[in-house]
Amino acid sequence: MIFYQTPEGRLGFRDIPPVLAEILRQVPTCSDLEDEAVEARLFPPPTEDPLEEGARDDWKAYVQPELHELFQTSRQTVDADLRGLKEEGDFFTVEFSSKHVPAWLNALNQARLALAAQHNFDEGELSQPGPLQITNEKELALLQINFYAAVQQWLIETLEE
């Protein structure tokens, strides 16, 4: 898989193997779950102060809906870009505007955090290299987390240039 930038300021990935293309397609749906652990990680409380129960209630009522909308908008942007995945021989290619980089970073982060929360990964498991063979859902999730991290890292580097 190769990351590239066009002279017009568009970004893309080419030579994407089919399995990674499928994993990329899952970015917008990974965090769209009715899972308490995922919800708790994506929407943490603003303070642990025992005197601030009212502030936590207000946060849930007023701030969380805004965050929901922000996260959903990012996922929708990425989903629209991923609909442009094109098959070219044995591989896939996708290209998108550099203006979408913040949405991609956000959606990739949502996906990684959601997968980690859903599968209850600890720091030790996350620091392991990905498995050579995928035999269960948790190993697949670790592959996804690592692959999405590589994509995120490349996007961050393009922002720094």
Binding site: D49, N106, L126, Q153, I156
Partner: protein
Amino acid sequence: MISSSQTETGTSTKDATAVDLPWNVIVHNDPINLMSYVTMVFQKVFGYPKEKAEAHMLEVHEKGRSIVWSGAREHAEHYVQTLHGYLLLATMERGE
């Protein structure tokens, strides 16, 4: 509510109420967020130069938390919301 100028000079009196104290914005360690991502977020949100952003990121990574900003409560709330928008684990606490 304490003014930002008072906050910056650390002005406080013995009879100040808790509401008058500055609030700290804390970022907590998270095994998922990339170091480069956290650094980038600190630069964007607080306008910190890369060196300062990296120092806070390393403090989060090594000590489990870092006070990334202190000041008036309403600004602290805004920063925590912004950091949550970037999916960082952030909270606010009353300053000492």
